[in-house]
Protein backbone atom coordinates (compact mmCIF):
# COMPACT_ATOMS: atom_id res chain seq x y z
CA UNK A 1 0.00 0.00 0.00
CA UNK A 2 2.86 2.35 0.80
CA UNK A 3 4.34 1.79 -2.65
CA UNK A 4 1.22 3.12 -4.31
CA UNK A 5 1.12 6.11 -2.06
CA UNK A 6 4.65 7.11 -2.88
CA UNK A 7 3.94 6.93 -6.58
CA UNK A 8 0.85 9.00 -6.28
CA UNK A 9 2.83 11.66 -4.44
CA UNK A 10 5.16 12.04 -7.38
CA UNK A 11 2.34 12.32 -9.87
CA UNK A 12 0.38 14.94 -8.08
CA UNK A 13 1.73 18.44 -7.98
CA UNK A 14 0.19 19.45 -4.69
CA UNK A 15 -0.87 16.29 -2.97
CA UNK A 16 -3.75 17.61 -0.94
CA UNK A 17 -5.80 19.04 -3.77
CA UNK A 18 -5.20 16.51 -6.51
CA UNK A 19 -5.06 19.32 -9.05
CA UNK A 20 -3.45 17.58 -11.96
CA UNK A 21 -3.14 20.53 -14.30
CA UNK A 22 -1.66 22.68 -11.60
CA UNK A 23 -3.98 25.55 -12.35
CA UNK A 24 -4.83 26.05 -8.73
CA UNK A 25 -1.32 26.85 -7.66
CA UNK A 26 -0.87 27.94 -4.13
CA UNK A 27 2.48 29.54 -4.87
CA UNK A 28 0.88 32.51 -6.58
CA UNK A 29 -0.78 33.63 -3.39
CA UNK A 30 1.19 32.13 -0.56
CA UNK A 31 4.96 32.07 -0.47
CA UNK A 32 5.13 30.11 2.75
CA UNK A 33 3.34 27.13 1.32
CA UNK A 34 5.56 27.08 -1.73
CA UNK A 35 8.55 26.88 0.53
CA UNK A 36 7.13 23.85 2.23
CA UNK A 37 6.81 22.12 -1.11
CA UNK A 38 10.45 22.82 -1.95
CA UNK A 39 11.62 21.17 1.21
CA UNK A 40 9.56 18.07 0.69
CA UNK A 41 11.74 15.00 1.07
CA UNK A 42 10.94 11.42 1.89
CA UNK A 43 10.53 12.06 5.60
CA UNK A 44 8.09 14.93 5.18
CA UNK A 45 6.17 12.95 2.60
CA UNK A 46 5.91 10.10 5.06
CA UNK A 47 4.57 12.41 7.71
CA UNK A 48 2.12 13.96 5.32
CA UNK A 49 0.92 10.60 4.12
CA UNK A 50 0.50 9.73 7.74
CA UNK A 51 2.62 6.61 8.06
CA UNK A 52 4.42 8.43 10.85
CA UNK A 53 2.03 9.55 13.51
CA UNK A 54 3.49 12.59 15.18
CA UNK A 55 2.43 16.10 15.90
CA UNK A 56 4.42 17.58 13.05
CA UNK A 57 3.61 21.24 13.35
CA UNK A 58 6.40 23.75 13.78
CA UNK A 59 5.91 27.46 13.61
CA UNK A 60 7.94 28.84 10.74
CA UNK A 61 9.42 32.22 11.63
CA UNK A 62 9.58 33.27 7.99
CA UNK A 63 5.83 33.49 7.77
CA UNK A 64 4.46 36.68 9.20
CA UNK A 65 1.60 36.67 11.61
CA UNK A 66 -0.56 38.42 9.03
CA UNK A 67 -0.74 35.29 6.97
CA UNK A 68 -1.72 33.12 9.91
CA UNK A 69 -5.23 33.34 11.11
CA UNK A 70 -7.15 31.48 13.77
CA UNK A 71 -10.71 30.89 12.77
CA UNK A 72 -13.63 29.36 14.56
CA UNK A 73 -15.69 26.95 12.51
CA UNK A 74 -18.90 26.37 14.32
CA UNK A 75 -20.55 25.55 16.64
CA UNK A 76 -23.32 26.83 14.40
CA UNK A 77 -22.27 25.83 10.94
CA UNK A 78 -24.19 23.58 8.59
CA UNK A 79 -21.23 21.47 7.58
CA UNK A 80 -20.10 20.62 11.07
CA UNK A 81 -22.94 18.14 11.54
CA UNK A 82 -24.40 19.50 14.71
CA UNK A 83 -22.61 21.64 17.22
CA UNK A 84 -19.02 20.75 16.52
CA UNK A 85 -16.68 23.69 16.90
CA UNK A 86 -13.25 23.64 15.33
CA UNK A 87 -10.52 26.12 16.05
CA UNK A 88 -8.64 26.18 12.81
CA UNK A 89 -5.30 27.83 12.25
CA UNK A 90 -5.11 28.91 8.66
CA UNK A 91 -2.17 29.96 6.57
CA UNK A 92 -3.77 31.52 3.55
CA UNK A 93 -6.27 28.88 2.59
CA UNK A 94 -4.37 25.95 4.01
CA UNK A 95 -5.29 24.46 7.37
CA UNK A 96 -2.23 24.07 9.57
CA UNK A 97 -3.63 23.14 12.96
CA UNK A 98 -7.02 22.06 14.19
CA UNK A 99 -8.40 21.84 17.67
CA UNK A 100 -11.85 20.29 18.02
CA UNK A 101 -13.86 21.90 20.81
CA UNK A 102 -16.74 19.73 21.94
CA UNK A 103 -19.23 19.63 24.75
CA UNK A 104 -21.95 21.88 23.35
CA UNK A 105 -24.41 19.00 23.36
CA UNK A 106 -23.31 17.53 26.66
CA UNK A 107 -26.39 16.55 28.63
CA UNK A 108 -24.86 14.27 31.24
CA UNK A 109 -26.40 11.08 29.91
CA UNK A 110 -23.95 8.87 31.78
CA UNK A 111 -25.03 10.52 35.01
CA UNK A 112 -28.67 10.17 34.02
CA UNK A 113 -28.01 6.51 33.29
CA UNK A 114 -27.12 5.99 36.94
CA UNK A 115 -30.48 7.43 37.97
CA UNK A 116 -32.63 5.27 35.71
CA UNK A 117 -33.17 1.57 36.28
CA UNK A 118 -32.27 -1.06 33.73
CA UNK A 119 -35.79 -1.15 32.36
CA UNK A 120 -35.67 2.58 31.65
CA UNK A 121 -32.06 2.51 30.46
CA UNK A 122 -32.68 2.22 26.71
CA UNK A 123 -34.81 5.40 26.80
CA UNK A 124 -31.66 7.20 27.79
CA UNK A 125 -29.08 5.50 25.59
CA UNK A 126 -31.23 5.70 22.48
CA UNK A 127 -30.83 9.47 22.52
CA UNK A 128 -27.05 9.36 22.35
CA UNK A 129 -26.32 8.60 18.73
CA UNK A 130 -29.57 9.93 17.36
CA UNK A 131 -28.95 8.66 13.84
CA UNK A 132 -28.53 5.05 14.93
CA UNK A 133 -30.75 4.72 18.01
CA UNK A 134 -31.28 0.97 17.65
CA UNK A 135 -27.60 0.28 18.10
CA UNK A 136 -27.50 2.23 21.34
CA UNK A 137 -30.48 0.32 22.67
CA UNK A 138 -28.98 -2.96 21.50
CA UNK A 139 -25.63 -2.45 23.16
CA UNK A 140 -27.23 -1.45 26.46
CA UNK A 141 -29.60 -4.42 26.33
CA UNK A 142 -26.78 -6.84 25.48
CA UNK A 143 -24.75 -5.56 28.42
CA UNK A 144 -27.68 -5.96 30.81
CA UNK A 145 -28.46 -9.42 29.48
CA UNK A 146 -24.86 -10.46 29.93
CA UNK A 147 -25.01 -9.37 33.57
CA UNK A 148 -28.30 -11.20 34.03
CA UNK A 149 -26.90 -14.19 32.14
CA UNK A 150 -29.98 -14.66 29.99
CA UNK A 151 -30.49 -15.49 26.32
CA UNK A 152 -33.22 -13.78 24.37
CA UNK A 153 -35.51 -15.85 22.10
CA UNK A 154 -34.57 -16.35 18.47
CA UNK A 155 -37.33 -14.15 17.18
CA UNK A 156 -36.15 -11.28 19.38
CA UNK A 157 -32.57 -11.66 18.09
CA UNK A 158 -33.74 -11.74 14.50
CA UNK A 159 -35.95 -8.68 14.96
CA UNK A 160 -32.97 -6.93 16.54
CA UNK A 161 -30.77 -7.77 13.57
CA UNK A 162 -33.48 -6.69 11.14
CA UNK A 163 -33.99 -3.35 12.85
CA UNK A 164 -30.33 -2.57 13.40
CA UNK A 165 -29.38 -3.33 9.83
CA UNK A 166 -32.24 -1.18 8.54
CA UNK A 167 -30.95 1.47 10.91
CA UNK A 168 -27.47 1.11 9.44
CA UNK A 169 -28.95 1.83 6.00
CA UNK A 170 -30.83 4.89 7.22
CA UNK A 171 -27.79 6.17 9.06
CA UNK A 172 -25.51 5.72 6.06
CA UNK A 173 -28.09 7.43 3.86
CA UNK A 174 -27.89 10.50 6.10
CA UNK A 175 -24.12 10.34 5.95
CA UNK A 176 -24.23 10.22 2.14
CA UNK A 177 -26.80 13.01 2.03
CA UNK A 178 -25.05 15.46 4.35
CA UNK A 179 -21.68 14.50 2.93
CA UNK A 180 -22.95 15.31 -0.53
CA UNK A 181 -24.33 18.61 0.64
CA UNK A 182 -21.03 19.61 2.20
CA UNK A 183 -19.23 19.05 -1.04
CA UNK A 184 -21.87 20.79 -3.12
CA UNK A 185 -23.89 17.89 -4.50
CA UNK A 186 -27.14 19.35 -3.27
CA UNK A 187 -29.33 16.79 -5.05
CA UNK A 188 -27.68 14.15 -2.90
CA UNK A 189 -29.05 15.91 0.16
CA UNK A 190 -32.62 15.58 -1.09
CA UNK A 191 -32.14 12.03 -2.35
CA UNK A 192 -30.60 10.64 0.81
CA UNK A 193 -33.26 12.03 3.09
CA UNK A 194 -36.01 10.92 0.70
CA UNK A 195 -34.93 7.29 0.79
CA UNK A 196 -34.33 7.40 4.53
CA UNK A 197 -37.96 8.36 4.96
CA UNK A 198 -38.98 4.93 3.62
CA UNK A 199 -37.09 3.24 6.42
CA UNK A 200 -38.22 5.71 9.06
CA UNK A 201 -41.82 5.03 8.05
CA UNK A 202 -41.25 1.37 8.77
CA UNK A 203 -39.67 2.26 12.11
CA UNK A 204 -42.64 4.42 12.96
CA UNK A 205 -45.03 1.62 12.09
CA UNK A 206 -43.13 -0.87 14.24
CA UNK A 207 -42.02 1.16 17.22
CA UNK A 208 -44.33 4.16 17.18
CA UNK A 209 -41.53 6.66 16.74
CA UNK A 210 -39.30 7.79 13.91
CA UNK A 211 -36.28 8.24 16.14
CA UNK A 212 -35.39 7.42 19.76
CA UNK A 213 -37.50 4.29 19.67
CA UNK A 214 -36.82 2.56 23.01
CA UNK A 215 -37.76 -0.59 21.13
CA UNK A 216 -34.92 -2.97 21.95
CA UNK A 217 -35.04 -3.56 25.70
CA UNK A 218 -33.31 -5.92 28.08
CA UNK A 219 -35.01 -9.28 27.57
CA UNK A 220 -36.13 -8.83 23.98
CA UNK A 221 -37.96 -6.17 22.04
CA UNK A 222 -40.88 -4.01 23.09
CA UNK A 223 -43.42 -5.22 20.54
CA UNK A 224 -43.84 -7.69 17.75
CA UNK A 225 -43.51 -6.64 14.13
CA UNK A 226 -46.71 -5.17 12.67
CA UNK A 227 -49.01 -7.09 10.37
CA UNK A 228 -47.83 -7.32 6.77
CA UNK A 229 -44.38 -6.08 7.72
CA UNK A 230 -42.95 -8.18 4.89
CA UNK A 231 -44.61 -5.90 2.33
CA UNK A 232 -42.82 -2.85 3.73
CA UNK A 233 -39.49 -4.64 3.81
CA UNK A 234 -40.00 -5.88 0.26
CA UNK A 235 -40.62 -2.31 -0.84
CA UNK A 236 -37.45 -1.15 0.90
CA UNK A 237 -35.48 -4.00 -0.68
CA UNK A 238 -36.82 -3.04 -4.10
CA UNK A 239 -36.54 0.74 -3.93
CA UNK A 240 -33.21 1.33 -2.17
CA UNK A 241 -30.96 -0.53 -4.67
CA UNK A 242 -32.63 1.31 -7.56
CA UNK A 243 -32.02 4.64 -5.91
CA UNK A 244 -28.45 3.72 -5.03
CA UNK A 245 -27.93 3.05 -8.72
CA UNK A 246 -29.18 6.56 -9.40
CA UNK A 247 -26.68 7.99 -6.93
CA UNK A 248 -23.89 6.09 -8.60
CA UNK A 249 -24.93 7.34 -12.02
CA UNK A 250 -24.83 10.84 -10.67
CA UNK A 251 -21.63 10.65 -8.63
CA UNK A 252 -19.43 7.64 -9.27
CA UNK A 253 -17.88 8.74 -12.56
CA UNK A 254 -18.50 12.39 -12.00
CA UNK A 255 -15.15 14.18 -12.51
CA UNK A 256 -16.01 16.96 -10.06
CA UNK A 257 -16.98 14.47 -7.36
CA UNK A 258 -13.85 12.43 -7.93
CA UNK A 259 -11.65 15.50 -8.03
CA UNK A 260 -13.03 16.76 -4.76
CA UNK A 261 -12.80 13.45 -2.93
CA UNK A 262 -9.88 11.43 -4.25
CA UNK A 263 -6.59 11.78 -2.39
CA UNK A 264 -8.22 14.08 0.13
CA UNK A 265 -8.21 13.55 3.87
CA UNK A 266 -6.09 10.43 3.85
CA UNK A 267 -6.02 8.20 6.91
CA UNK A 268 -3.59 5.31 6.92
CA UNK A 269 -4.14 2.03 8.71
CA UNK A 270 -1.49 2.92 11.29
CA UNK A 271 -3.23 6.19 12.07
CA UNK A 272 -6.56 4.48 12.40
CA UNK A 273 -5.17 1.98 14.87
CA UNK A 274 -3.29 4.63 16.82
CA UNK A 275 -6.31 6.91 17.11
CA UNK A 276 -8.71 4.07 17.81
CA UNK A 277 -10.74 4.66 14.67
CA UNK A 278 -13.11 1.82 13.87
CA UNK A 279 -15.95 1.18 11.50
CA UNK A 280 -16.16 2.28 7.87
CA UNK A 281 -13.20 4.65 8.25
CA UNK A 282 -10.92 1.79 9.33
CA UNK A 283 -12.19 -0.45 6.55
CA UNK A 284 -11.66 2.33 4.01
CA UNK A 285 -8.04 2.42 5.16
CA UNK A 286 -7.44 -1.17 4.24
CA UNK A 287 -8.08 -3.11 7.44
CA UNK A 288 -10.90 -5.66 7.26
CA UNK A 289 -12.18 -5.33 10.80
CA UNK A 290 -15.88 -5.63 11.44
CA UNK A 291 -17.27 -6.69 14.81
CA UNK A 292 -20.16 -8.37 13.03
CA UNK A 293 -17.68 -10.90 11.65
CA UNK A 294 -15.02 -10.88 14.34
CA UNK A 295 -17.00 -10.70 17.57
CA UNK A 296 -20.56 -11.41 16.48
CA UNK A 297 -23.62 -10.50 18.53
CA UNK A 298 -27.30 -11.48 18.37
CA UNK A 299 -26.57 -14.34 15.99
CA UNK A 300 -25.32 -12.18 13.13
CA UNK A 301 -22.75 -14.86 12.33
CA UNK A 302 -25.54 -16.89 10.70
CA UNK A 303 -26.03 -14.36 7.92
CA UNK A 304 -24.12 -14.21 4.68
CA UNK A 305 -22.60 -10.88 3.83
CA UNK A 306 -19.27 -9.40 2.84
CA UNK A 307 -17.19 -6.63 4.33
CA UNK A 308 -16.17 -4.11 1.70
CA UNK A 309 -12.59 -2.97 2.16
CA UNK A 310 -10.68 -0.23 0.37
CA UNK A 311 -6.99 0.47 0.41
CA UNK A 312 -6.97 4.18 -0.37
CA UNK A 313 -8.10 5.60 2.95
CA UNK A 314 -9.26 8.87 1.38
CA UNK A 315 -12.63 10.57 1.48
CA UNK A 316 -13.69 8.85 -1.73
CA UNK A 317 -13.06 5.41 -0.22
CA UNK A 318 -14.97 6.34 2.91
CA UNK A 319 -17.88 7.53 0.78
CA UNK A 320 -17.81 4.46 -1.42
CA UNK A 321 -17.64 2.05 1.48
CA UNK A 322 -20.84 3.45 2.95
CA UNK A 323 -22.64 2.88 -0.35
CA UNK A 324 -21.40 -0.71 -0.54
CA UNK A 325 -22.27 -1.37 3.10
CA UNK A 326 -25.86 -0.42 2.35
CA UNK A 327 -25.96 -3.23 -0.19
CA UNK A 328 -24.53 -5.67 2.36
CA UNK A 329 -27.04 -4.58 4.98
CA UNK A 330 -29.84 -5.10 2.47
CA UNK A 331 -28.60 -8.68 2.07
CA UNK A 332 -28.84 -9.22 5.83
CA UNK A 333 -32.30 -7.65 5.95
CA UNK A 334 -33.47 -9.96 3.19
CA UNK A 335 -32.12 -13.03 4.99
CA UNK A 336 -33.63 -11.91 8.29
CA UNK A 337 -36.99 -11.49 6.59
CA UNK A 338 -36.78 -14.93 5.00
CA UNK A 339 -35.77 -16.73 8.19
CA UNK A 340 -37.86 -14.92 10.77
CA UNK A 341 -38.51 -17.56 13.44
CA UNK A 342 -41.87 -17.90 15.11
CA UNK A 343 -42.25 -17.66 18.84
CA UNK A 344 -42.10 -15.08 21.59
CA UNK A 345 -40.45 -11.74 20.93
CA UNK A 346 -39.29 -11.29 24.50
CA UNK A 347 -37.98 -13.53 27.22
CA UNK A 348 -40.70 -15.28 29.20
CA UNK A 349 -39.25 -14.33 32.56
CA UNK A 350 -41.89 -12.38 34.43
CA UNK A 351 -39.28 -10.72 36.60
CA UNK A 352 -37.57 -9.07 33.63
CA UNK A 353 -40.15 -8.37 30.97
CA UNK A 354 -43.58 -6.95 31.78
CA UNK A 355 -46.65 -9.09 31.00
CA UNK A 356 -48.90 -8.15 28.07
CA UNK A 357 -51.43 -5.44 28.84
CA UNK A 358 -54.51 -7.67 28.53
CA UNK A 359 -53.19 -10.11 31.17
CA UNK A 360 -53.39 -7.38 33.79
CA UNK A 361 -57.18 -7.59 33.89
CA UNK A 362 -57.14 -11.37 34.36
CA UNK A 363 -54.25 -12.26 36.59
CA UNK A 364 -53.22 -10.98 40.00
CA UNK A 365 -49.61 -12.15 39.47
CA UNK A 366 -49.40 -10.31 36.19
CA UNK A 367 -50.51 -7.12 37.93
CA UNK A 368 -47.88 -7.59 40.64
CA UNK A 369 -45.10 -8.25 38.12
CA UNK A 370 -46.18 -5.28 36.05
CA UNK A 371 -46.19 -3.04 39.13
CA UNK A 372 -42.80 -4.26 40.31
CA UNK A 373 -41.13 -3.77 36.93
CA UNK A 374 -42.57 -0.32 36.33
CA UNK A 375 -41.85 1.00 39.81
CA UNK A 376 -38.69 -0.67 41.04
CA UNK A 377 -37.35 -2.39 37.96
CA UNK A 378 -35.50 -5.68 38.17
CA UNK A 379 -32.38 -6.39 40.15
CA UNK A 380 -29.21 -7.24 38.30
CA UNK A 381 -26.41 -9.30 39.89
CA UNK A 382 -23.17 -7.60 40.83
CA UNK A 383 -20.52 -7.43 38.17
CA UNK A 384 -18.92 -5.47 35.39
CA UNK A 385 -19.37 -5.93 31.70
CA UNK A 386 -18.19 -4.33 28.49
CA UNK A 387 -20.12 -5.25 25.36
CA UNK A 388 -19.67 -4.01 21.84
CA UNK A 389 -21.64 -3.85 18.63
CA UNK A 390 -20.67 -2.57 15.20
CA UNK A 391 -22.55 0.68 14.83
CA UNK A 392 -22.57 2.57 11.51
CA UNK A 393 -19.65 4.64 12.84
CA UNK A 394 -17.56 1.94 14.43
CA UNK A 395 -17.26 0.13 17.69
CA UNK A 396 -20.04 1.11 20.04
CA UNK A 397 -19.36 -0.17 23.52
CA UNK A 398 -21.30 -0.14 26.75
CA UNK A 399 -19.59 -0.53 30.10
CA UNK A 400 -21.90 -1.24 33.01
CA UNK A 401 -20.94 -1.72 36.63
CA UNK A 402 -23.71 -3.24 38.70
CA UNK A 403 -23.81 -3.23 42.49
CA UNK A 404 -26.74 -5.62 42.71
CA UNK A 405 -29.49 -3.01 42.72
CA UNK A 406 -31.94 -2.21 39.98
CA UNK A 407 -29.96 0.76 38.71
CA UNK A 408 -26.52 0.66 37.11
CA UNK A 409 -23.84 1.85 39.50
CA UNK A 410 -21.86 3.21 36.56
CA UNK A 411 -22.96 3.34 32.95
CA UNK A 412 -20.45 4.38 30.34
CA UNK A 413 -20.92 4.36 26.60
CA UNK A 414 -17.93 4.26 24.30
CA UNK A 415 -19.19 6.31 21.41
CA UNK A 416 -17.38 5.75 18.13
CA UNK A 417 -17.81 9.37 17.06
CA UNK A 418 -16.01 10.62 20.16
CA UNK A 419 -12.97 8.55 19.33
CA UNK A 420 -13.09 9.16 15.57
CA UNK A 421 -13.18 12.89 16.16
CA UNK A 422 -9.63 12.76 17.54
CA UNK A 423 -8.41 12.04 14.04
CA UNK A 424 -9.72 15.36 12.69
CA UNK A 425 -6.42 17.21 13.26
CA UNK A 426 -4.61 14.45 11.36
CA UNK A 427 -7.09 14.41 8.50
CA UNK A 428 -7.49 18.14 8.15
CA UNK A 429 -4.03 19.58 8.68
CA UNK A 430 -2.04 20.70 5.64
CA UNK A 431 -5.06 20.59 3.37
CA UNK A 432 -7.15 23.44 1.95
CA UNK A 433 -10.11 24.42 4.06
CA UNK A 434 -12.57 23.28 1.40
CA UNK A 435 -11.13 19.77 1.64
CA UNK A 436 -11.36 19.93 5.40
CA UNK A 437 -15.13 20.17 5.17
CA UNK A 438 -15.18 17.07 2.98
CA UNK A 439 -13.00 15.29 5.52
CA UNK A 440 -15.32 16.09 8.43
CA UNK A 441 -18.28 14.83 6.44
CA UNK A 442 -16.50 11.59 5.59
CA UNK A 443 -15.74 10.81 9.24
CA UNK A 444 -19.46 11.24 9.86
CA UNK A 445 -19.43 12.39 13.48
CA UNK A 446 -22.73 12.57 15.32
CA UNK A 447 -22.44 15.10 18.07
CA UNK A 448 -25.01 13.45 20.26
CA UNK A 449 -22.67 10.49 20.41
CA UNK A 450 -19.60 12.67 20.96
CA UNK A 451 -20.91 14.66 23.89
CA UNK A 452 -23.42 12.26 25.38
Amino acid sequence: MMEENKDSVKDVDFWATNSEEGGWNISSTDEGSQKMLDQEDEVTTKIQMGSEVIDDYFIDDDISDDERMILNMGPQHPSTHGVLRLQVELEGEVVRRVQPVIGYLHTGMEKTGEELNYFQGPTNTTRMDYLSPFFNELVFSLATEKLLDIEVPDRASTIRILMTELNRISSHLVALATGGMDIGALSMMIFGFRERELILDFFEKTTGLRMNHNFIRPGGVAADLPDNWQKDIEKILKVIPEKLKDYDEMLLDNPIWQGRLKNVGILTTEECLAYGITGPSLRASGYAWDLRKMQPYSGIEKYEFDIPVFEEGDVFARWRIKVLEIFESLKIVEQAMGNMPKGPFKIQDKKITPPPRKRLDESMEALIHHFKIYTEGFKVPEGEVYTTVESPRGELGCFIVSDGSSKPYRMHVRGPSFCNLQALPVVMSDSPIADAVAAIASLDPVLGDVDR
Partner: protein, 135 residues
Amino acid sequence: MKENLDISIEDYFQKVEELKNDGYEMMVDLTAIDWFRKKEPRFEVVVNFLSVSKNKRISIKVKLNDELTIPSITSLYPSANFYEREVFDMFGINFENHPDLTRILMPDDWVGHPLRKDYGTGRIPVQFKNAPKVD
Protein backbone atom coordinates in the same frame (compact mmCIF):
# COMPACT_ATOMS: atom_id res chain seq x y z
CA MET B 1 -11.75 -13.72 24.36
CA LYS B 2 -11.75 -11.12 27.09
CA GLU B 3 -9.22 -10.89 29.90
CA ASN B 4 -9.37 -8.77 33.00
CA LEU B 5 -6.26 -7.69 34.85
CA ASP B 6 -5.77 -5.79 38.07
CA ILE B 7 -2.64 -3.68 37.95
CA SER B 8 -1.03 -1.57 40.64
CA ILE B 9 -0.46 2.05 39.79
CA GLU B 10 3.34 1.69 39.75
CA ASP B 11 3.24 -1.00 37.07
CA TYR B 12 0.53 0.66 35.03
CA PHE B 13 2.57 2.50 32.43
CA GLN B 14 4.98 -0.38 31.99
CA LYS B 15 2.15 -2.86 31.59
CA VAL B 16 0.50 -0.73 28.93
CA GLU B 17 3.80 -0.52 27.10
CA GLU B 18 4.06 -4.31 27.24
CA LEU B 19 0.54 -4.65 25.90
CA LYS B 20 1.35 -2.35 23.02
CA ASN B 21 4.41 -4.40 22.13
CA ASP B 22 2.30 -7.49 22.60
CA GLY B 23 0.06 -6.63 19.66
CA TYR B 24 -2.77 -4.72 21.28
CA GLU B 25 -2.94 -2.04 18.63
CA MET B 26 -5.94 -0.11 19.89
CA MET B 27 -6.94 1.50 23.11
CA VAL B 28 -10.68 1.53 22.70
CA ASP B 29 -11.97 2.82 25.99
CA LEU B 30 -10.75 4.48 29.15
CA THR B 31 -13.04 5.37 31.99
CA ALA B 32 -13.23 5.49 35.76
CA ILE B 33 -15.47 4.24 38.55
CA ASP B 34 -16.18 6.14 41.74
CA TRP B 35 -16.74 3.82 44.72
CA PHE B 36 -17.74 6.61 47.07
CA ARG B 37 -18.19 5.18 50.61
CA LYS B 38 -18.43 1.68 49.17
CA LYS B 39 -14.85 0.65 48.64
CA GLU B 40 -11.36 1.82 49.41
CA PRO B 41 -9.56 3.24 47.50
CA ARG B 42 -12.28 5.35 46.07
CA PHE B 43 -11.37 5.62 42.38
CA GLU B 44 -10.58 3.00 39.80
CA VAL B 45 -9.51 3.57 36.22
CA VAL B 46 -10.57 0.96 33.68
CA VAL B 47 -8.84 0.75 30.31
CA ASN B 48 -9.96 -1.51 27.47
CA PHE B 49 -7.55 -2.63 24.79
CA LEU B 50 -8.30 -4.38 21.55
CA SER B 51 -5.99 -6.44 19.40
CA VAL B 52 -7.34 -6.47 15.88
CA SER B 53 -4.66 -8.85 14.66
CA LYS B 54 -5.35 -11.47 17.35
CA ASN B 55 -9.04 -10.64 17.82
CA LYS B 56 -8.62 -10.32 21.57
CA ARG B 57 -9.65 -7.85 24.19
CA ILE B 58 -8.06 -7.06 27.49
CA SER B 59 -9.28 -4.79 30.20
CA ILE B 60 -7.00 -3.53 32.93
CA LYS B 61 -8.08 -1.92 36.13
CA VAL B 62 -5.97 0.38 38.27
CA LYS B 63 -6.80 1.41 41.82
CA LEU B 64 -5.82 4.99 42.51
CA ASN B 65 -4.28 6.27 45.71
CA ASP B 66 -5.36 9.45 47.46
CA GLU B 67 -3.32 11.72 45.22
CA LEU B 68 -5.63 10.88 42.31
CA THR B 69 -2.75 10.90 39.88
CA ILE B 70 -2.01 8.33 37.22
CA PRO B 71 0.48 8.36 34.33
CA SER B 72 -0.95 9.33 30.99
CA ILE B 73 -0.71 6.78 28.18
CA THR B 74 -1.24 9.33 25.42
CA SER B 75 2.36 8.92 24.33
CA LEU B 76 1.72 5.23 23.67
CA TYR B 77 -1.85 5.43 22.42
CA PRO B 78 -2.85 8.81 20.93
CA SER B 79 -6.48 7.73 21.22
CA ALA B 80 -6.22 8.05 25.00
CA ASN B 81 -6.05 11.83 24.66
CA PHE B 82 -9.77 12.60 24.65
CA TYR B 83 -10.61 9.81 27.08
CA GLU B 84 -8.15 11.02 29.68
CA ARG B 85 -9.47 14.54 29.32
CA GLU B 86 -12.98 13.20 29.80
CA VAL B 87 -12.02 11.32 32.97
CA PHE B 88 -10.22 14.41 34.25
CA ASP B 89 -13.31 16.47 33.53
CA MET B 90 -15.82 14.06 35.00
CA PHE B 91 -13.88 12.59 37.95
CA GLY B 92 -11.07 15.03 38.65
CA ILE B 93 -8.34 12.45 38.14
CA ASN B 94 -5.02 13.89 37.02
CA PHE B 95 -3.01 12.33 34.23
CA GLU B 96 0.70 12.98 34.45
CA ASN B 97 2.42 14.08 31.25
CA HIS B 98 -0.80 14.55 29.35
CA PRO B 99 -0.23 17.09 26.55
CA ASP B 100 -3.37 19.13 27.15
CA LEU B 101 -5.24 18.20 30.29
CA THR B 102 -8.23 20.54 30.19
CA ARG B 103 -11.95 20.07 30.56
CA ILE B 104 -13.44 18.59 27.44
CA LEU B 105 -17.21 18.35 27.86
CA MET B 106 -17.96 20.80 30.67
CA PRO B 107 -17.20 24.53 30.38
CA ASP B 108 -13.71 25.55 31.47
CA ASP B 109 -14.95 27.49 34.50
CA TRP B 110 -17.14 24.69 35.79
CA VAL B 111 -16.81 23.80 39.47
CA GLY B 112 -16.93 20.16 40.46
CA HIS B 113 -16.70 16.86 38.68
CA PRO B 114 -20.13 15.65 37.58
CA LEU B 115 -19.71 11.89 37.51
CA ARG B 116 -18.49 11.68 41.08
CA LYS B 117 -21.03 10.05 43.31
CA ASP B 118 -21.10 12.96 45.76
CA TYR B 119 -22.08 15.33 42.96
CA GLY B 120 -25.86 15.53 43.01
CA THR B 121 -28.10 15.55 40.02
CA GLY B 122 -30.01 18.77 39.70
CA ARG B 123 -33.75 18.60 39.62
CA ILE B 124 -36.23 21.13 38.38
CA PRO B 125 -38.92 21.52 41.05
CA VAL B 126 -42.37 20.56 39.82
CA GLN B 127 -45.19 22.79 41.06
CA PHE B 128 -48.05 20.62 42.21
CA LYS B 129 -51.30 22.06 43.39
CA ASN B 130 -50.97 23.81 46.75
CA ALA B 131 -47.43 22.58 47.17
CA PRO B 132 -45.02 24.88 48.99
CA LYS B 133 -42.93 26.87 46.58
CA VAL B 134 -39.39 25.65 45.99
CA ASP B 135 -36.77 28.14 44.97
